[in-house]
Symmetry: C4
Subunit: 196 residues, 4 copies
Amino acid sequence: MFAIAITLLAIEITVPIVDSTRGSDLADALLHQWPSYVAYAVTFFIVGAYWINHHRMFFLLRGVDHTFLILNILCLMAIAIIPFPNAVVAEYLTDPALRGVAAALYGLAMLMLAIMFNVVWWYADLRGLFRVDVDKAKVRKVLRTYLTGPVIYLIGLVISMWAPTVSLIIYFVVPFGYLFEGPVGEIDEGYIEMEG
Amino acid sequence: MFAIAITLLAIEITVPIVDSTRGSDLADALLHQWPSYVAYAVTFFIVGAYWINHHRMFFLLRGVDHTFLILNILCLMAIAIIPFPNAVVAEYLTDPALRGVAAALYGLAMLMLAIMFNVVWWYADLRGLFRVDVDKAKVRKVLRTYLTGPVIYLIGLVISMWAPTVSLIIYFVVPFGYLFEGPVGEIDEGYIEMEG
Amino acid sequence: MFAIAITLLAIEITVPIVDSTRGSDLADALLHQWPSYVAYAVTFFIVGAYWINHHRMFFLLRGVDHTFLILNILCLMAIAIIPFPNAVVAEYLTDPALRGVAAALYGLAMLMLAIMFNVVWWYADLRGLFRVDVDKAKVRKVLRTYLTGPVIYLIGLVISMWAPTVSLIIYFVVPFGYLFEGPVGEIDEGYIEMEG
Amino acid sequence: MFAIAITLLAIEITVPIVDSTRGSDLADALLHQWPSYVAYAVTFFIVGAYWINHHRMFFLLRGVDHTFLILNILCLMAIAIIPFPNAVVAEYLTDPALRGVAAALYGLAMLMLAIMFNVVWWYADLRGLFRVDVDKAKVRKVLRTYLTGPVIYLIGLVISMWAPTVSLIIYFVVPFGYLFEGPVGEIDEGYIEMEG
């Protein structure tokens, strides 16, 4: 599911059609699409990081109930829409007049995703869906770090209205936080055993 | 499979191309696409709910036979076509003259899906494909609730011919029924144990 | 993999754009696309039947070797291209002058798929990749029925050059053969036990 | 993931629209698209070969850590973008003036993929993520053969600037190397046991 949404991001990068006898014109047209490449890389990395975290948390569950499945569908709905705001940002990133609206849309989509991600995993905690051998205090510590997501994207969304460039930088810097393992590593001790 | 069809729903939401120096024009163009967002959310939720139910029922099977596999392919065929009627409704939802036909097409697609879903699971019951430890009376109770699907979509389809708005409201209200667990929860006792 | 190729078939069915105040014009435009619906249903069913057979055969393997994996990639290559000839047939089915070429392309794609499918499974047999408890005589019986595929599509391909309608009917009738289980059912005794 | 990227390659092959009463015009238009078919087949085979190797290496792991997962996301990012350079090569392969730039873009994308693939698996080796029963000397031998990938694509990339045809031939000949098993077969002894 995450894999499909993430792979569809590349579909939006189109082949530039140049009618020229000079190779430099095609090179220019390809370079001119740099916002598409940046948006692809950043969004791919953000969604990929959600994927890793979602997957690791799932391993800690003892089971799921109906409400969890419904909330998970809503979380997937927020994931699957991401190619749309990603394409809007890629289209209007270089337009000073319009990138504010594009940044706000992107921030709104990321905010919804961050909220749904939190709802799913806080619900799992509140309903006791984690395995009994999983340290409850450590799960809470992980869940509290997840709360930073909605806060950051809400700040970015508010800022986007008068300083779109700053908000875009915020969105694009967030992924670097994912380079560090965070508290989830304390629960599964840095290793996820292979399935099977 | 369900995941792929559901993710492809977002592809249909296109980036509006505005040639303007005012951000409000892009915002207007994005808001103007609201039927696409509504159709995405509603259809995603309906197909997601089918996914959950299909998955839970599969866990109750002891095995499958050739006819089950063929019927399942036909059910998947009805799932995979959904992005098409979804896109037609998104395109013509705001056009009073044309939304009746769009609503009828959507209702027809949903009716076929609901019928195939019933055919697959009633067949599984009639051929005794459920595990011996699964309570047959409870399975029947679940299957009877599934029968409401074709009935509702048939009513919606008939109504769409002279009151398209009413039929669309019917389709869009149906998903809220999925918020409640229904009798399938009585079989697997509200929890689906994790695989592996 | 099969699932992805099969789901992408629906992408090709586009929303007709009508500029009219009469619902009947949209209905006409939708009905006018009937070749797309027929092609979708037929191709989905054919690929779905390959999927079932591929899956059932895989269950009989004790392992795979490098050549098997390479051949399997070539078979998947033949599967993944199918949306293209399918779209060509949908586009030109109603054009008497051009449907011959479309039918030939479709037949060629199906012939390649049928050949690769046979190559994969005959190779598995020749290299002894099936489990020791699987009856070799019965596997051969299954493999011999698979040989009918390339023969039928080769006949269709030859006929398409002067009688495209007949060849299309041949392609479209073939799937009905899949409604019957065939000899593979004798090996796994009509039931595939659930995984896990 | 590999499967999705690989299947999306076929989407780029479009139906030629001919307005003619002669079948030979459609046949010509279809044949005229030969660069799309060649690019599809070559790229599919290259990515398919990466898929096989990635899968076989995964089977040798005892577990993964956070950095491995992050590197794997970056490797998947390099995989998922492949349909884009593939489409650029298909579009400009027959244009002598522009194919140099297209060949360079393709080489660059393949170089990034080859580098990320090496980074993922060398990291796994350095961090001791392989199972204890896996012969470390043989793993090193496999990893050293993987180093040829970046070298070949770097050579192709450099050559593409003044001899694009030669660089394209290099890219297109590389896949034939995958027909031979290579040292990974020495580790899992030519057979990958079925899962489950």
